[in-house]
């Protein structure tokens, strides 16, 4: 089985779906001849031509606005927003238009646009190349939000997104775009949306993570094991709709839970997960559920390592739940 990194897996998904479905088009800034600033669309322009791999003028609202029109007409557009920090000029098109088209038209106009965008810090990108805005979009009825953490899931989830009929924000963890490598089947497969993966089984504490934080959490699990603590790591994979069953099964088993995300803490996705768990599993909890997150500050440049969750901080939170 070939070994790929996340970028290669994303590209493989796009290429194979574009071969299979002539309605799939890719559009965005620099996605054409250049193949994208992270090279995710590299080679697609040569294979599929300028009509299906479209270099757009530099305007995010135009990328998403035109992608919506394309989807309404019958294409399957997969626009790329170069960094999720640049998504905000398209916020109205995503939140008020894309996410609402099916509903507001009484079901007449489904709008299957899959927005790919790199998220997260750890690349010395400063405030405008590091943000994790998932909570804003999870809070948007009508959107699905998907956040793979490894190459296998990246390909399988992206293929699944392109074959369903709802709009999706597909967030790619840019910190581990190349560092995360793994076996990815050559052929066709999908990873079901809305299903989390239990990455490591354990009994003392559940760790919920997604995107670039899964590898940090994995490191924490290793350190915990060395210290005699057995952690269960759940990679959420799809954030909306999230997999409540897998989350609850794990938390009911361990009785403790730590949520990890690099986005700011207040009103972050962790808050929702904790609310959902305590509403349904209060009697199983041995300790308060803790969060390890970014801070409620803008994303800093020089101090980014200090801003981002680390394995040590995750382990510290796990210990805290055990000592409670």
């Amino acid at each position: 089985m070939p070994v790929m990194n996340i970028i290669e897996a994303v590209r493989d998904a796009l290429r194979s779906e574009m071969r299979r479905d002539p309605r799939v088009v890719v559009l965005g800034e620099d996605v054409g001849k250049f193949g994208g600033v992270f090279r995710a669309t590299s080679g697609l322009f040569d294979e599929f031509g300028a009509d299906r791999v479209i270099d757009t003028p530099l305007a995010e609202a135009g990328i998403i606005g035109t992608a919506i029109g394309m989807a309404l007409y019958g294409l399957r557009p997969v626009p790329e927003i170069q960094f999720s920090d640049f998504i905000f000029p398209a916020f109205d098109q995503i939140v008020n238009e894309l996410a609402k088209f099916r509903y507001r038209s009484g079901g007449q106009y489904p709008c299957p646009v899959i927005i790919r965008t790199p998220v997260g810090g750890g690349i010395r990108g400063g405030h405008y190349h590091s943000q994790s805005p998932e909570a804003l979009f999870i809070h948007t009825p009508g959107l699905k939000v998907v956040a793979p953490s490894n190459p296998y899931d990246a390909k399988g989830l992206l293929l699944a997104c392109m074959r369903q009929n709802d709009p999706v924000l597909f967030m790619e963890p840019k910190r581990i775009y190349r560092a995360s490598r793994g076996e990815v089947p050559d052929g066709d497969y999908t990873v079901e949306l809305g299903k989390a993966a239990v990455v490591a089984e354990g009994t003392h504490c559940t760790i919920l993570a997604y995107s670039g934080m899964v590898s940090i959490a994995e490191e924490a699990v290793k350190k915990a094991t060395e210290a005699g603590i057995s952690c269960e790591l759940v990679d959420l994979r799809t954030l909306m709709p999230y997999d409540i069953d897998t989350i609850l099964a794990s938390v009911k088993k361990t009785g403790r839970c730590v949520v990890v995300h690099e986005a700011p803490r207040t009103c972050g996705f962790g808050a929702e997960l904790i609310a959902a768990i305590q509403e349904r599993a209060m009697e199983h909890l041995e300790a308060p559920i803790l969060r390890v997150t970014g801070f409620d500050t803008p994303f800093p440049y020089t101090l980014e390592h200090e801003y981002l969750p680390t394995a040590e901080r995750v382990l510290g939170a796990v210990r805290q739940t055990l000592e409670w």
Binding site: A59, G65, T66, I68, L72, R102, R104, G106, G142, K144
Partner: protein
């Protein structure tokens, strides 16, 4: 790139009294088409007056009239049924021309169980997939890049469909307008962008929206022709729109049309123009009423009689009354439909919320009629 000529001259076929201007070519339209145009114009006028009246009686939450702007809606006339329209909220005539029924129109206003959009949007936010009339949104300008995208998609798929979008002159101040004009120009998308310059964006006059001499002149910067047309002259509207649609279909790219018209009354049922507008301002425009001008034209070519008009208005009034009495018997959409079509399938969290809601005792809405 060769600079495109500015077309600042106002294109007209009829003078203010409805006489054909000397040396002007009249668009070739059959008697049947001319009659139908007059019929739909009268329908818009009749519907607007009736809906406004019931709004004032407290029977309808909100309404937006197009009185005085009806001619501009006929930009859609030369479109084929397979072409797409991305409307704004003041193009009733475009809906009726393309086959939207009075029942659909009224059920949408009332948000009842037969509302095509299932009671999910305020009045005047129509949607008709079978007519390629795209769902209306309140934020202005969002539909413009979408129209460009649909047009570009047609081109990619090798079809010769055209997209048309409508917006007001105030919308030309939005980012989306400029973004969309630029994309349209770069892609040479088969799209027609119709700017209804009715002089007012709620309380802000057209002169406060731009320092440019005309709105049509903005097209030049995006590498497309901008045509200025008398938006109260339905024949000129059809003529200019035909040219733009033909250009688009022939692969020659987008055209912006500035239809110069006037919002004779308020922005919506919630507006009061007397607060911000010189009360004498509408008078000269009332003399240029598109309906009167078109009537005079039809009279001159022997296609108008008073009984004809009276008959049309009576028919529409009756149709409105019938549709309203049918609508009166309809209830609101079923409670559980609130959760439908957020997604293609209801995810677990919405199912859970729906079941919770269904278990609650219903209290009376303060807005229930």
């Amino acid at each position: 790139m060769v600079a495109l000529p500015m077309q600042d001259d106002l294109r007209r076929v009829l003078d203010d009294e409805g006489h054909v201007l000397p040396g002007v070519k009249v668009p070739e339209l059959s008697e049947e088409t001319l009659h139908r145009m007059f019929d739909v114009m009268l329908q818009v006028r009749t519907v607007d007056e009736r809906m406004m009246r019931i709004q004032r009686q407290g029977r309808l939450g909100f309404y937006m009239k197009a009185i005085g702007e009806e001619a501009s809606h006929f930009a859609v006339l030369p479109l084929r049924p397979t072409d797409w329209v991305f409307p704004s909220y003041r193009e009733q005539g475009a809906w009726f021309w393309r086959g939207y029924s009075i029942d659909e129109f009224i059920n949408q206003l009332f948000g009842n169980e037969k509302d095509p959009v299932k009671g999910r949007q305020m009045p005047v936010h129509h949607s008709a997939r079978t007519l390629n009339m795209v769902s209306i949104s309140s934020p202005v300008g969002t539909q413009i890049p979408q129209a460009v995208g649909a047009a570009h998609a047609a081109k990619i798929l090798g079809k010769d469909d055209v997209a048309m979008t409508f917006f007001g002159e105030g919308t030309s101040s939005t980012g989306e307008f400029h973004v969309a004009m630029n994309f349209a120009g770069v892609y040479k998308a088969p799209v027609v962008l119709v700017c209804r310059n009715n002089g007012w964006a709620i309380s802000v006059s057209a002169s406060q929206q731009t320092a440019a001499k005309t709105f049509a002149s903005k097209a030049v910067g995006y590498g497309m022709p901008g045509i200025r047309v008398d938006g109260n002259d339905v024949l000129a509207m059809v003529q200019v729109s035909t040219e733009a649609i033909d250009r688009a279909r022939a692969g020659e790219g987008p055209t912006m049309i500035e239809a110069l018209t006037y919002r004779v009354q308020g922005h919506s049922s919630s507006d009061d123009p007397s607060v911000y507008r010189d009360p004498n301002e509408p008078a000269p425009w009332e003399k240029k009423d598109p309906l009167v001008r078109f009537r005079n034209y039809l009279k001159q070519i022997g296609l108008w009689t008073e009984p004809l008009e009276v008959g049309i208005v009576e028919r529409h009034n009756q149709a409105i009354s019938d549709a309203m009495s049918r609508a009166d018997k309809l209830g609101p959409p079923a409670l559980e439909t609130m959760f439908d079509e957020v997604y293609e399938e209801i995810p677990w969290h919405l199912e859970e919320q729906k079941q919770w809601l269904l278990r609650q005792e219903r209290t009376k809405s303060p807005h229930a009629h």
